[in-house]
C-alpha cells in the first residue's frame, strides 16, 4: 500500500482498487470451490491470455522486501541466488500469504534461469505442480522464434490437460482484447502520473500495476477504466509546484510488491519518480502486438516485445531494450536515472555499467543502487540518493529549472 499521501484531491477509484485487492483471496477461494483452478506464474513470458482463455485464474507470484522469506528460501536454494528468487522460494514454502495456498499449478518461463531453478526447487521440496515454458536466448533468430512457437504449443497442451478445457479461438480472442485494453489503460496511467498537476503519482500507479497481479482481469479493467474516467473529470492538482522536484526514472530489474526501500528513500528526499522500465512495472505492458487469436501469434507477439535482460543481445547499437529506455526517458521527461539491481541478479547488474555510459552520453545523470532486502544498507543508500538528487537539483538550477 502507498506510504505517502497521493494528492490533495482524493481519487475514489484508487480506494476501490485497494479494497478489491483485500477482497481478492476470498473471491479466489470461492471460485476454487466452484471448480476453477488457480495458476501462479513467475518471470516475463507466460502469456496470461492463455490462462484466461482456459478459464483458470492467473496470479503473478512474488513479493519483495521481506528478509525473513529470503532466509527461509536460502535454506533450499542458495545464498548466491538473488533475493527475489530466495524470497519467492520462502514464500512458496511458507504458504503464509493469502495466495500461495490457493495455487494449483506454478507456471514459470525460463527467461531468468534462476527462476527456472526456483521452480525445480519448490517442485521437489514443497510438492508444487510446475510447468516450464522454454524461452530462446537466440530470440531474434528464425530458429529461436520457431522454437518458442513449439514451446508455447506444448505449454498450451499441458495447460489444456491441467484445466480440462480445450483452447477456443473465440475465448482466446476475447482474452487478447481484454489484456490489450489493460495494457493500454496502464500506459495511459503511466503517462498521466508523469504530468505536472496529476492527481496520481508514480507510486500509486505502481501499486495499481501490482493490484493487477491478483485481481480478476475483467474486473481489473473495469476499475482501470473507471479510474481513468474519474481522473479525466478531476480538476488538476494545482497544489503542486512543477520544477521543484528532480524527475527520477527507475530503471533495472524489478521492484516486487513490498519492496519499497528505495522508493521510500527517493520520495523522502524529495525526488519525484516519473517512470520505470521494471519488469514488475511498465516493461511487462509494453509493445505486445498479437496479430491473431492463435498460439503462434501469441508466441510471436511475446517474443518481439521489449526483451528481458536475461536474454542476451550482442549488438549494443540496436538493442531494443536500451532504445526503449531512451524513449521512455523522453516520454516521461525524466531528468535522472536511478538503476536498481538486486544482489546476484546478474543479467541486470552486469549491464549497469554500459547503461550508465550510454545514458551519461545522452546527458542523464545515472546512479546505480545495488541492494537486497535487508535494511542494513538503508543509510548508505540514503546518502548516495541524497547526493545524487542534490546533483540533479544543482544541474536543474544551472539550466534554469525544468
Amino acid at each position: 500500500m502507498s506510504r505517502t499521501a497521493t494528492s490533495v484531491t482524493k481519487v475514489t477509484v484508487l480506494e476501490k482498487i485497494r479494497q478489491a485487492v483485500i477482497d481478492r483471496p476470498a473471491q479466489i477461494a470461492a471460485a476454487k470451490k466452484q471448480g476453477q483452478k488457480v495458476v501462479g506464474w513467475l518471470n516475463y513470458f507466460v502469456p496470461e491470455e492463455l490462462l484466461l482463455a482456459l478459464d483458470v485464474i492467473p496470479v503473478r507470484v512474488g513479493v519483495g522486501g521481506d528478509e525473513q522469506l529470503v532466509d527461509i528460501g536460502g535454506r533450499y536454494i542458495s545464498t548466491k541466488n538473488c533475493v527475489f528468487v530466495r524470497a519467492a522460494v520462502g514464500l512458496l514454502g511458507e504458504k503464509k500469504d493469502p495466495y500461495t495456498p490457493l495455487l494449483d499449478l506454478l507456471a514459470v518461463d525460463a527467461s531468468c534461469l534462476q527462476v527456472f531453478r526456483l521452480a525445480e526447487v519448490v517442485k521437489y521440496y514443497f510438492k508444487y505442480e510446475t510447468l516450464i515454458l522454454g524461452v530462446p536466448r537466440s530470440f531474434t533468430a528464425p530458429e529461436g522464434q520457431a522454437y518458442f512457437r513449439h514451446e508455447l504449443q506444448d505449454f498450451t497442451a499441458a495447460l489444456e490437460k491441467f484445466s480440462g478445457r480445450k483452447l477456443e479461438q473465440a475465448k482466446l480472442k476475447a482474452a487478447i482484447e481484454l489484456l490489450a485494453k489493460i495494457r493500454e489503460s496502464l500506459q495511459y496511467l503511466y503517462q498521466y502520473q508523469s504530468q505536472d498537476y496529476a492527481n496520481l503519482n508514480w507510486r500509486d500507479v505502481f501499486e495499481i500495476v501490482h493490484a493487477g497481479f491478483y485481481l480478476d482481469r475483467a474486473e481489473y479493467l473495469k476499475l482501470l477504466q473507471e479510474l481513468i474516467a474519474e481522473l479525466k473529470e478531476l480538476p488538476e492538482d494545482k497544489s503542486k509546484i512543477p520544477g521543484t522536484e528532480p524527475r527520477v526514472f527507475i530503471s533495472g530489474s524489478q521492484l516486487s510488491p513490498g519492496d519499497v526501500k528505495l522508493i521510500n528513500i527517493i520520495e523522502d528526499l524529495g525526488g519525484k519518480i516519473v517512470g520505470d522500465d521494471l519488469w514488475t512495472g511498465l516493461a511487462s505492458y509494453l509493445d505486445i502486438q498479437i496479430a491473431a487469436p492463435t498460439v503462434d501469434a501469441l508466441a510471436d507477439g511475446y517474443l518481439a516485445r521489449v526483451p528481458h535482460a536475461a536474454l542476451p543481445y550482442l549488438n549494443i547499437s540496436t538493442d531494443s531494450r536500451i532504445k526503449k529506455l531512451k524513449e521512455l526517458l523522453g516520454r516521461f521527461r525524466a531528468q535522472a536515472v536511478i538503476d536498481h539491481t538486486l544482489r546476484y541478479c546478474d543479467p541486470y547488474t552486469f549491464k549497469a555499467g554500459e547503461t550508465k555510459d550510454i545514458l551519461n552520453n545522452e546527458g542523464f545523470p545515472f546512479l546505480e543502487i545495488h541492494t537486497e532486502y535487508a535494511s542494513s544498507d538503508i543509510e548508505a543508500i540514503r546518502t548516495r540518493v541524497e547526493a545524487f538528487l542534490e546533483l540533479v537539483r544543482t544541474r536543474n538550477d544551472v539550466a534554469g529549472g525544468i
Binding site: 542458495s78 548466491k80 550482442l314 554500459e354
Partner: protein
C-alpha cells in the same frame, strides 16, 4: 616471509623407460620425439614456467607425483606447450574461439578453429609472461580477474577473468562463441559484456534449450544453431565444411569420448586406484578439451588406457594414494578440490559429474551430423532437469563406490548452487552417502586456500 621453493623434478632413473614410449604427432603434421619431450619437461619447461614445477601442496595445478605414469608426463607436456601451439596456429590463420566448459568441440575443430574454455584462456593469459613463480602467476591471474570485476561486477563467477583476458587483448581470441545455458547462467551475460567498449571481434551464441526432455523441436533448434556456429568459425578459417567433414570430426572425437569412458570404467574396476586423483581427473578433461590438439591428445589417451590396463592387471596403485583411501565423488560447477590436499587427508577423487557428463554420450556417426550433435548434447546427463541429473549422479556414486559426495561451486555461481542442496538430498536419499558443500572463491589460486581445504579435509575425516 619468503620461503625457498620446493622444485618438482623428474628423476633421471625413469628417462630410459620414458624414451621408449615414443613421441607425439600433432594435427598440423609436426611431431615431437620422446627425447624432446623429456628435454622440455626437465630443462625448458622449468625455466619458462617455474610455477608449474613448484612442488608445494597448495598448487592446485601441481604436476602429478606419479612419475612412472608416462602418459601423465606427456599430458603435462601438452598442457605446458599449449601456448606455443596456439600462437603458432593463430599466426597461421587458425581462429581461436572462446567457448564454455563442458560442451562438445566437434563443430569448432571441423570448421578449422581451436576452441578454448575459460580455464585454458586463463592459463594462456597467465603464461604470456614467462619465468613467473607460483606467487607471481597467482598475482597475474588476480590482476586480470580484478580488471574484469571493475568493468562488470564483483558478483560474476571467476570465469570473468577469462573474459577480461580477452577484452584486454592479453590473448588473441578471434571469436567468442560458446554454448549457453549449459551448466552456467553467467556465460550469456559475460559474452554480452564484450559488446561495449571493446574491439568488435565477432560473437555468436549457441543456445542450449533447457527442460528439453521429450521435445523433438529442441533438436531442430539446436541443430540450426550449430549450423550457424560452423558458418561463423568457417568464415574466419576460410575452410569449406561439408557434412562429411563434420562427420569425420565426430568420429575422431567419439574416439576420445570412448577412451575416456573405458579408462574411467577400468579405474573404477580396480581394487586399488591405479592413478592418483590428479591423473585420473585429467582424463575426462583431455577427452573433452584436447588442449588445442585433438590428434595428440587422443594419442595420449590411448597410451593412458594401456598404462591403466597394465596397472590394474598388476595391482599397481597410483603414487600418492594411501591404502584404503576414502573415495570422494565431486559434484557441482567448474571447480574441484585440490587433489594433493585430498590425498594428504587420506582420500582419493573417484568421479566428477561435470566432466564425466560430456564424455558419457557418444554422437551418432551416420546421418545429419548437426542433428546428431544436437541430440547428443541434449542428452548430457548433467544438463537434464535437476531431479533426473541427481538420479544419474546417484548411479555414478554407486558405480564409483564413493564414500561421500562433495558439492563444490564457484563464488558467484547462481545456476549450480541453486540446486546444490537438491542434488545432494536426492543423492543422499538414493545412496545413503553423506555430502557437503564448499564454496570456492580462489579458483586457480594457490594462496589463501586454507578455508576451503579445511572444509574438504574435515569432510574426509568425517567419512
Amino acid at each position: 616471509m619468503v620461503t625457498a621453493t620446493k622444485v618438482f623434478t623428474y628423476p633421471e632413473t625413469i628417462k630410459a623407460d620414458f624414451l621408449k614410449t615414443g613421441g607425439l604427432k600433432f594435427g598440423d603434421g609436426t611431431e615431437v620425439s620422446a627425447e624432446e619431450i623429456w628435454r622440455f619437461m626437465t630443462e625448458e619447461g622449468p625455466r619458462r614456467f617455474p610455477h608449474a614445477f613448484d612442488a608445494s601442496a597448495n598448487s592446485i595445478g601441481k604436476l602429478s607425483d606419479d612419475v612412472t605414469f608416462f602418459s601423465g608426463i606427456k599430458r603435462a607436456y601438452l598442457t605446458l606447450t599449449m601456448k606455443d601451439r596456439l600462437y603458432k596456429a593463430h599466426d597461421n590463420g587458425v581462429p581461436i574461439v572462446m567457448i564454455q566448459g563442458g560442451q562438445t568441440l566437434d563443430p569448432y575443430y571441423a570448421a578449422g578453429g581451436i576452441p578454448l574454455r575459460p580455464g585454458y584462456i586463463m592459463q594462456w593469459a597467465r603464461d604470456v609472461e614467462e619465468g613467473l613463480n607460483l606467487r607471481e602467476i597467482d598475482n597475474r591471474g588476480l590482476e586480470i580477474l580484478e580488471s574484469g570485476r571493475r568493468k562488470v561486477s564483483i558478483e560474476a563467477c571467476n570465469q570473468l577473468a577469462a573474459h577480461a583476458a580477452v577484452a584486454n587483448n592479453i590473448v588473441p581470441v578471434d571469436l567468442i562463441a560458446p554454448y549457453l545455458c549449459l551448466r552456467c547462467s553467467d556465460m550469456s551475460f559475460l559474452v554480452e559484456t564484450h559488446r561495449h567498449k571493446e574491439d568488435q571481434r565477432p560473437k555468436y551464441l549457441v543456445d542450449f534449450p533447457i527442460n528439453q526432455t521429450g521435445k523433438p523441436w529442441t533438436v531442430d533448434y539446436l541443430a540450426e544453431q550449430l549450423r550457424g556456429l560452423v558458418k561463423e568459425v568457417a568464415k574466419l578459417s576460410k575452410k569449406e565444411v561439408t557434412d562429411e567433414v563434420l562427420r569425420a570430426e565426430i568420429k575422431r572425437q567419439n574416439k576420445a569420448r570412448k577412451l575416456a569412458q573405458e579408462i574411467i570404467e577400468l579405474w573404477w574396476s580396480a581394487e586399488q586406484p591405479p592413478l592418483n586423483s590428479t591423473d585420473f581427473f585429467s582424463i575426462p578433461f583431455l577427452a573433452n578439451d584436447f588442449v588445442g590438439d585433438p590428434q595428440a591428445t587422443i594419442q595420449v589417451l590411448e597410451e593412458t588406457k594401456k598404462e591403466v590396463e597394465y596397472r590394474v592387471q598388476n595391482k599397481i596403485k597410483g603414487t600418492g594414494v594411501v591404502d584404503n583411501a576414502k573415495r570422494v565423488f565431486v559434484c557441482g560447477s567448474c571447480v574441484g578440490p585440490n587433489s594433493t590436499s585430498v590425498e594428504r587427508a587420506g582420500a582419493v577423487l573417484v568421479g566428477r559429474d561435470d566432466n564425466f557428463s560430456c564424455n558419457s554420450v557418444l554422437v551418432k556417426e551416420e546421418g545429419d551430423p548437426y542433428r546428431n550433435l544436437a541430440e547428443a548434447i541434449l542428452a548430457f546427463p548433467y544438463e537434464q532437469p535437476t531431479e533426473q541429473r541427481a538420479e544419474w549422479v546417484a548411479e555414478m556414486v554407486k558405480k564409483s563406490r564413493a564414500d561421500g559426495v562433495l558439492f563444490m561451486y564457484n563464488w558467484g555461481c547462481n545456476y549450480q548452487t541453486a540446486v546444490g542442496r537438491l542434488i545432494s538430498d536426492i543423492v543422499k536419499d538414493k545412496t545413503g552417502k553423506p555430502s557437503t558443500f564448499v564454496e570456492v572463491g580462489e579458483l586457480g589460486r594457490s594462496e589463501a586456500t586454507e578455508q576451503s581445504e579445511n572444509r574438504v579435509e574435515a569432510f574426509i575425516e568425517m567419512i
